[in-house]
């Protein structure tokens, strides 16, 4: 009841602000510089001071991997070949306050599951959920370029099931071994987001993020970073084809990308989207990245992920 009351109060305040703030009735609500309308990939934080709702949902998998198992007596146990599957979902709302400030909230869920029981047994099951709340502040802009900064607080909760790790701990006589670990972490972050319109057709987006705070290893604080660069092509203004491409690269050590502590990953993505609307984007994104595994011989298999995302501007 109290949660519902709190939620209603928050929604009431936000909708009231929204009703008063967005008095400007721009015909074209999507972010635009120099005649180029930007179409962001699903993971990117927009550098634009706009009110929008964005969401994405996706799944991915590795190729077939092999695990030689353990020799117990004269038998081999837990030897298998199989795949790992991944899922992700996210939702973000950003509210424009004035010409240079917006507030935002986002929530996401990302996890790794096995495609069969043996995969789960061997490399466990990890999931992270949580979100962040922050401010987006416009630092500089002109006709073709915009630079904004973010300041935010991130709360995550991680659940880790590691059966092989548990068996190893038992064999190594580690005190208090655990199969399941639930660990809450909190980090503070700052970031820079930028957009540059080269022409009506081509744009460039970049972002950097630095977070500091707790890690998923108790008693240890960590520094996380994320850097990304993407190109954005809109075929609509010049060729009257309502299709846009966003392709790019990101480096990330953030746990929601690596699902592992003290690791990093390189992510390549291609997004194909519909660009014919003045106030929403929808697109299909293909991401490729390598992924560290703790218990499988093939240490960094490629993960292919497909997600569907939208961004609705008000």
């Amino acid at each position: 009841m109290k949660k519902a009351l709190t939620l209603i109060l928050w929604l009431g305040m936000i909708l009231s602000v929204s009703a008063q703030l967005d008095t400007s009735r721009n015909i074209y609500r999507k972010p635009m510089l120099g005649g180029h309308a930007f179409h962001m990939n699903d993971q990117a934080k927009s550098p634009f001071i706009k009110t929008y709702l964005a969401g994405s949902i996706g799944m991915g998998n590795t190729g077939t991997m092999y695990f030689s198992g353990y020799i117990v007596g004269d038998k081999v146990i837990l030897d298998f070949s199989g795949q790992l599957m991944f899922f992700n979902a996210g939702l973000e709302y950003q509210q424009r306050v004035n010409d240079w400030l917006a507030i935002y909230f986002n929530y996401g869920l990302v996890g790794r599951v096995g495609s069969d029981v043996s995969t789960i047994l061997v490399d466990g099951l990890n999931s992270l959920s949580g979100g962040s709340i922050g401010w987006l502040i416009r630092l500089y802009h002109n006709d073709r370029f915009q630079l904004s900064g973010t300041l935010y607080l991130q709360n995550l909760s991680g659940s880790f099931v590691d059966i092989v790790g548990y068996i190893n701990d038992l064999l190594d006589s580690v005190p208090n071994p655990e199969i399941t670990k639930n660990i809450p972490v909190m980090n503070g972050g700052v970031g820079l987001k930028g957009a540059w319109a080269a022409s009506q057709t081509i744009g460039v987006l970049f972002e950097t993020d630095f977070l500091y705070g707790e890690s998923f290893v108790r008693g240890v604080n960590s520094f996380f970073t994320g850097i990304s660069l993407s190109g954005d092509v809109d075929f609509n203004p010049r060729y009257q084809v309502p299709v846009g491409l966003n392709f790019g690269y990101a480096f990330s050590s953030r746990p929601e990308n690596t699902l592992l502590e003290f690791d990093h990953t390189n992510i390549f993505h291609l997004r194909i989207g519909y660009t014919g609307s003045s106030d929403f984007d929808v697109g299909l994104q293909f991401s490729f990245y390598r992924y560290e595994l703790t218990n499988i011989e093939e240490r960094r298999p490629w993960v292919k992920n497909t997600s569907l995302g939208f961004r609705l501007y008000f």
């Binding site: 109290k2 009351l5 008063q20 010409d99 709340i133 607080l153 709360n155 660990i183 909190m186 108790r218």
Partner: protein, 212 residues
């Protein structure tokens, strides 16, 4: 000429009082079959604010607050966890808050950080007995937190305003005192929740004196 900067500074300063309720809870590690739930409490304080320009206000807002949580336990033969203990944590808080007004100057968003000194902490059972067990020595000697929120103000008379705000607050450091515990085994528990306030804001000088 000598008085002009003083009067200008005074014209940019305002002060006020505010109070309200908060819905807080502890969040983080819990023992098996134990849950933290929201507990309503109260806040009261004052503030001094400086208007940087017509959109940005910086304020110092010391206040007394009581936060806490209900602790529920899962019991055999019961479907839902049973509320058993209420933990109350009293603080005197010193936040510095930045408010950014919208173009119409009625709504604003706010954000800031603060430190809080714990005053008294205790728990009591929810069975109706008022026996309080002091746990002040288990609470960290200082709390550091962030706040984000939204507010609305109404002009009432002679440049004075009443306002209503709703804020999300989140402590940044562990609520549990470290003591002799190994950090690897120290539970991570923090306070967080929503604070709903109303208040009165009045300038330290009248409107006419703002233009010497």
């Amino acid at each position: 000429m000598f008085l002009s900067p003083v009067l200008t500074l005074q014209a940019q300063l305002s002060a006020g009082v505010y109070g309200g309720m908060n819905l807080s809870k502890l969040r983080g590690d819990t023992p098996k079959d134990v849950y933290f739930n929201t507990l309503p409490n109260g806040d009261i304080g004052g503030f001094l604010e400086y208007n940087f320009n017509d959109q940005v206000i910086v304020g110092f807002q010391p206040y007394y607050t009581r936060k806490g949580t209900k602790v529920s336990f899962r019991v055999d033969d019961m479907d839902d966890p049973v509320d058993s203990v209420k933990i109350h944590l009293s603080y005197f808080s010193f936040p510095v808050i930045i408010k950014v007004l919208t173009n119409k100057k009625k709504w604003y968003v706010l954000g800031g950080a603060g430190i809080a000194k714990p005053l008294r902490s205790f728990y009591k059972y929810v069975d109706g007995t008022d026996e309080r067990t002091d746990i002040s020595d288990k609470v960290a000697p200082l709390n550091v937190y962030l706040q984000f929120g939204v507010g609305r103000r109404w002009k009432v008379w002679n440049n004075k305003y009443i306002f209503g705000e709703i804020r999300y607050f989140q402590s940044l450091i562990n609520t549990i005192r470290k003591g002799d515990l190994d950090p690897a085994y120290l539970p991570r528990v923090r306070t967080r929740g929503t604070q709903i306030s109303v208040g009165l804001d009045f300038p330290l000088t009248g409107k006419k004196r703002q233009k010497p």
